[in-house]
Amino acid sequence: MIGDRVLRKEDARFLTGRGRYLADHDVPGLCHIALVRSPIAHARVRSVDVTEALLSPGVVGVFTQADLEAGGARPMTHRLSMPGIQPLSWGVLATDTVRFVGEPIVAVVATSRAEAEDACELVEVDYEPLPAMVDPRAALEPGAPLLYPEWGTNVFFTAASPAGQADAAIATAPHVLTERVSHHRIQALPLEGHGAQASVDPQTGGLVVIASNQQPHQLRTVIAETVGLPESSVRVIAPDMGGGFGAKQHFTREECLVALLARITGRPVRWAQDRAEGLTASIHARAQEHEVTCGYDDTGKVLGYKVQIVADLGNPVLYFSGIGPSLVTIGCLAGGYDFGPVSFDLRCVATTTCPVGAYRGFGQPEAHVTSERVLDTIAERLGLDPVEVRHRNFLPDAPRPWMAPSGARMDIGSLGPHFDQLLDEVDYDGWRKRQADARAEGRFVGIGLSTLVQGTAPTQYGVAGRFGSWESASVSVLPDGSVTVFVGTKSQGQAHETVFAQVAADALGVPVDRVTVKDGDTAALPYGMGTWGSRSAVMGGGAVVTASTRLREKMDLIATHMGGNPTFDQIAEEVWWHAHRLPHHLEPGLTSTVVYTPGNTIPVPDAAGKTNFEETYGAHMTCVVVEVDVDTGDVELLDAVLVSDCGRVINPMVVEGQHQGAFVQGLGNVLHEEIRYDDEGQPLTATLIDYTPPLATDVRDLRVLHREKPSENAGGFRGMGEAAIIAAPAAIAGAVADALRPLGVEVWSTRLHPHHLRALLRAAR
């Protein structure tokens, strides 16, 4: 059961078009919301005239922030708890100032989406343009136009470690490397856009919100706060989701708007994001610049490591904004390496662009690309093989868990043998020979490595001051022996209906088809933390296995009491229908609700100043081989192998599918995709003709091998949903750099698109 390639329970409904996604929830009287969004990057809003729009056919109402406030709207905030952050709150709709193209100003409710969009055309907004500020480094310059003049700067948040130790280690190192690494702006791009629908429950007067959201319980909290209702009066249902990848992790203005407008109009209302809104006015990601300084010795051992980060937040009117990922970046700069003292300096900068926030990987790809580029470059400068330099820098094999100076509790296996397994599998030495042969023929083949240690199942408490590290599940054995599981995570395609059924079935000792799993409904469980941060197997799986094991133990007790070796079904029937025959001390029923935590995290500094944000870690070793066409700049993948330790594997088919999909996303991130703006802050990538995720013809299969070292947490899981999207950009950048090295090209950017590579090649000639 656990460990089997069980085919997915979800598939029959998805394959036949019976999935129920956000926009598949038509109800009688449903109205639709369209938004008037700013067409310019930065402006004062002088006036808004909705007179014409109100007269447009089908229009139910036209709403500004003032209308929403009259209807009870409260301010929204980023809900960050760190010291030193600038004060900032915002309305559900913008009022006097807009600060990116796409910022919502007016909401139209109409009886059809087309009518709502027609009426948006009739809203007159008078803008007084202000200077756009697109480049975060320019935004740091003295005299730069300010997004929030009351701050006196565009810096929203800064954090720095004590610099002394790393600086001293670097100063006395035999060699020092200093480079700038650019991580370009991309986005998660779930194929189903974001959206929400809400209605007033006539029985209770409360709200029922259907939202394509990865964290329905936390969305309930935020909606309740913004609308001004107790949490008990808001039910959030996250239905089938057409992907999420972090883009649906935030709690957005639009979700709160939908809730407010359902109350204000008394009608069921839906907002379903269109693709232009998704590309320009939802969530962007990455967008960091690193200046890395590294001291190392003649053997390639790093002695001190320092990264100064400028993170572009866009206009940070978003729950946790780009600060969340940036904090993760500074927490994993050294990954699975012993780099000696590590220091950082982080400046999070507001610009007049779309808010930056979550995308699968969440700050880890940025740290990892930088560290892998540094190690490869050290190897090159010392004339060593990058394999050798990695071996020299891996965390020692003992003790375990490895307790990093920061407090991180790294419960991973030995990295060296894991890496060697990868090299054997990919035939590293053979590829080096083939690479030499190719070079002799004037072809440019490169080999790239990623040796990733990934923190998983993180706590949000450190940044949010709430939302700790735990997860809920409720498992019941029903009188006929069938089993229900409710869990507080939220599948967006990760097969939770199948894998959690496997976990429960395994613990209970029943066939998988007996178990029905449900998620995404705040009515089913008091609270849950949702799905993000590679946490679901660790936290949801841990909760399901804990609840199921408790039930199994109770059933074993009852079986002994019954005598005669009863079947599972006989025990279930006995407990529910013949409860008077149970032992007196035993509670009737077979249901177990648990709130589970591994308990490993330290979200705020303890007495020794240590923190640990991750419940566990996975280790993933990746090698890719590419050939670069130096005339076109095209990068062709020749081989790609991942040896993955995600702890106990629940369903190898699902894990391989996650790795495959994440790898191709990571490939797309660096070879195909880039969110671009012009100098005036106009988005240049507002369609899927301009923002081009990889197609079936652009990729090849990743070969995945499992290397299972169970964690000590319940079930032994480690989590892995983000691993390959962290690994792929680093490995591909390494491979491209390796291929182009003979031409004098160095790669210090994630922009590996054909036109960027052609520019690098031109510059090198």
Partner: protein, 158 residues
């Protein structure tokens, strides 16, 4: 109010009469009669999530006006199989893990059906080429390509 166009067409073998605005896309018209397996992914013809068969050929239903479909035959994913009776191509998708979130899946399956109809034994390169108008953000295409190749050996050409 714009005058509605009465459009009589066949949807999944059933005669339907739709009253649509001139601007109503086939996508919206199909979804409006409850066939929500046809998904709106981009509404500008780039992603393929809204793919349906029109007289047996794949079209992006977001780029076809419903009013132009009078007298024509539309097949949506709902017309191809049911959870209890999956089409052989659907069976292959399930067997080969050719889907995750399921949002691109109807378009992928219909595109695969068209390919296998025209070319019952495609090579991997031909499969990738045929699918290259449909975006999948979850799978990395490996399972989808495997599923179409699997179906090519299991599907009897119709």
């Amino acid at each position: 109010m714009t005058a509605l166009i009465e459009t009589a067409l066949s949807v999944n073998g059933e005669r339907r009469i739709l009253d649509v605005e001139p601007r109503t896309t086939l996508l919206d018209a199909l979804r409006g009669i409850g066939l929500t397996g046809t998904h709106a992914g981009c509404e500008h013809g780039a992603c393929g999530a809204c793919t349906v068969l029109l007289d047996g050929e794949t079209v992006r239903s977001c780029l076809v006006l419903a009013g132009q479909c009078g007298g024509r035959e539309v097949t949506t994913i709902e017309g191809l199989g049911t959870p209890d009776a999956l089409h052989p191509v659907m069976e292959s998708f399930r067997r080969c893990h050719g889907l995750q979130c399921g949002f691109c899946t109807p378009g992928m399956v219909l595109t695969a059906v068209e390919l296998l109809d025209e070319n019952p034994s495609p090579t991997e390169a031909e499969v990738r080429e045929a699918l290259s108008g449909n975006i999948c953000r979850c799978t990395g295409y490996a399972g989808i390509v495997a599923a179409v190749l699997d179906a090519s050996s299991s599907v009897v050409s119709e």
